[in-house]
Symmetry: C3
Subunit: 331 residues, 3 copies
């Protein structure tokens, strides 16, 4: 198209990429935990397990060489964006971090999410989206020709968190089937609890839900658990479940949820994990938490080998590495 006779910059014959692999995820969006059946979970967990070994041995690889991952965060979440950035880095990909101030730029000029997505996809090979509105990830996926990974859409979904939670259980306990899993704290509003519970209905587990009365698990999720035929019970005190639990998944009971603060003061200690409580727990079990925590797990517990919440953070990076590699057809 040009009459200029330039020496070509690239010799494309010498630059080839391996073909994309069909793995059931290639080119797909990751929007919801409902996309994951046991077979798919098994696949992602196997890849995440390999990623752990990779990072331990050599730190990184070049699987995503030539790929650009845009982290488009409409609300700040340092924890999640850092995890995706680290995941991309360790796969040899590059990140465009639009993690701050999206609101100051095009969006403030009235651009729709759809247009922002269609703009960003021109530069990128995959979009990681965080957005405060439920359903935004689906909108993004509808408009995007490249894979969209939902990194949290408000009160909606945050599938990579649920996957890392489940992966942590599996890595720590060696299996999922047969475990007694207790969810503790705010079960009503806790998005992570809902998503993890939905994933767990695919396994043969016993579930214990421990919460104040006003923060009990929503009806629809409870019904899903019951429909799945799982052994399930609800209780108001973590002391009721501590002795038998293989997994204690702890979330925060926020004072703000209570109209009557006296009521909060009365119940709050039933959801705090103390060293004394842990003396009654099994020797082989794990305490998990989506973090950040504010007092609901005592700091003195951190050196207990059963405290898995920081290892859980690390597993998030491995899961995200596995997902990125999968949707890009590299795994």
């Amino acid at each position: 198209m040009t009459e200029l006779t330039l020496k070509p910059l690239f010799n494309f014959d010498e630059m080839t990429l391996p073909p994309r692999v069909g793995n059931g995820f290639t080119g797909k969006d990751i929007l919801s935990v409902d996309q994951f059946d046991r077979e798919k979970l098994k696949y992602i967990f196997a890849r995440a397990h390999e990623m752990r070994e990779l990072v331990q041995r050599v730190g990184s690889c070049e699987l995503l060489r030539g790929n650009v991952v845009t982290c488009l965060f409409y609300e700040p979440s340092t924890r999640t964006s850092s995890s995706f950035i680290a995941a991309t880095d360790r796969l040899g990909g590059r990140v465009i971090p639009i993690t701050q101030g999206v609101q100051f730029s095009s969006v403030s000029k009235g651009e729709t999410l759809a247009d922002t997505i269609r703009t960003v996809e021109q530069y990128s090979d995959v979009i990681v989206l965080r957005h405060p509105e439920v359903g935004s990830a689906q909108v993004a996926a509808d408009y995007s020709d490249i894979p969209v990974i939902n990194a949290g859409d408000g009160a909606g979904e945050h599938p990579t968190q649920a996957l890392l939670d489940l992966f942590t259980i599996r890595e720590e306990m060696g299996r999922i089937d047969g475990l007694k899993i207790a969810m503790v704290g705010d079960l009503r509003y806790g998005r992570t609890v809902h998503s993890l519970t939905r994933l767990l209905t695919q396994y043969d587990v016993s579930l214990r839900f421990v919460s104040p009365e006003i923060l009990r698990l929503p009806l629809n999720i409870m019904n899903t658990v019951i429909d799945a035929g799982l052994d399930v019970r609800e209780t108001h005190d973590v002391a009721d479940v501590i002795e038998n639990a293989d997994v204690l998944y702890v979330t925060r009971v926020q004072k703000e949820r209570f109209v009557d603060l006296a009521q909060y003061e009365e119940v709050k200690n039933h959801y705090v994990i103390t060293p004394e409580l842990m003396q009654r727990a099994k020797e082989k079990m794990v305490v998990m938490h989506p973090l950040p925590r504010v007092g609901e797990i005592h700091y003195t517990l951190d050196d207990d080998p059963r405290a898995a919440y920081f290892r859980q953070v690390k597993n998030g990076m491995f899961i995200r590495m596995a997902l990125l590699a999968a949707v890009l057809g590299k795994a």
Copy 2:
């Protein structure tokens, strides 16, 4: 200089870079569209075209390995900074993104632009500067020993936008000479229109300027067009030009420009591109827009193959790749 006998870290004999290439851009600043004659445009477009092929085939290369590109943005522009970041990533270079909060740090302590530039150039191989003040890019270039690329200096220039606009015309239509190009909307304040028009005066094109009376093309640019001997006409309604246009370059008519809102309501529809209007357009033509848009191009038009505005975004990355490689002597 040290008496320590350390085993050297590097064997420089084995680490060599290809010599910098003299291409007319090597070591130069990119400040204004006025630097670009047809020969230079042809060169950059040929390189940008190669970049497209590179990205399509293998995603990235290592041309800028070892190079650090600092994106110094004194005002947010996610669109432009992301494009430069992606361009650098895909060339194998590294980015220092100073795209937020410049005002909070050294600048708030009273540091001059000159000192900031002389600081940043110590780390970097090229500086991409966005600054709200006209002429700031020239000041930066005066003080910098490394190339400065102007990514917008207020009401001044934004040369990479103009280059990507022209490149898009060329890629979409296969040529520039002989085309009928209509600029639509706010022609008075639209920086992108001014710069693109100035570039187009080097070609044999017909120009149509479509705007409300109060937003007509500034006198000096109109005179430049006339002096260039181009076929040119002004009109108030895009309907007047739709049938013959090969290129429709649309910009937003902002309500805020009108003192009399009744006047705005009266004329606004003359600058909106609808599917009905497009039925009267040629089959082979393109609609462009610098984005973001807010209603001036109907969303239903997005699937029309003539809608080129998102491809235009992608071309921005290719143009910036070509420019970065050129000023660093890699192309």
Copy 3:
């Protein structure tokens, strides 16, 4: 742990990293200048000198391939964070830049520094921490299993600044012993002056402290200098030291420090470096400044070969490259 028979993604036998090198820094934190004796300084300076050669010749290397450096900045410091980012880039490592908005995210939810550190270390191989509180770097190091580099903890330490200052003296003058070094300006609050002075007590130097009465060097640092047996004097006017100084280390005298503005007006010119003053200085000497400056060094001096303050910035990158490579066992 999975029954899936997947083709393994990685052949670890072919992916090996060289073993970590024991260099006295490997795996250690860099928190204070007090960690550095002459032997350690010699080592770091020798490595930094190699880094300069590396950057000049080929721009970058792959020493930190596979390593992730998290820049965790609780207060903005574009200058310092950019320097660490460039250092990491030029070593082939990857950066997670948490340089803005830390306060908006987890921290605003009440997370402790300890928990943030233990979270971030899951993704990273080294943490570069900037925090407004004295002692925060030590807290971070206590909780982190990976090396922490203190990039400034309030009125506490900023060891990499002191190291780059001393390295600059050595690179510019070819030695440190035997030099006459004058510190000028705000010696009371100037953290950089205090740290550099403490490092200099390990050398055989003459020190001159030039400041307004109310901004004299703190007693404890003065005593340290005296205890080291160095030739030392204090004065109120830079004119007193200009003729003999080999190094003029200039800092800003802030108007805000003075209760009586008339007093400020009276003395301020005694701490400004002008071309006239420099005519009385030695031909071979250097003027340094930690930057940013606001008038205390005339802009007309910038072309004077003795003006070393921008070269000083570049040395910061080399020092940080050397430190990163050292703590990661790569040098």
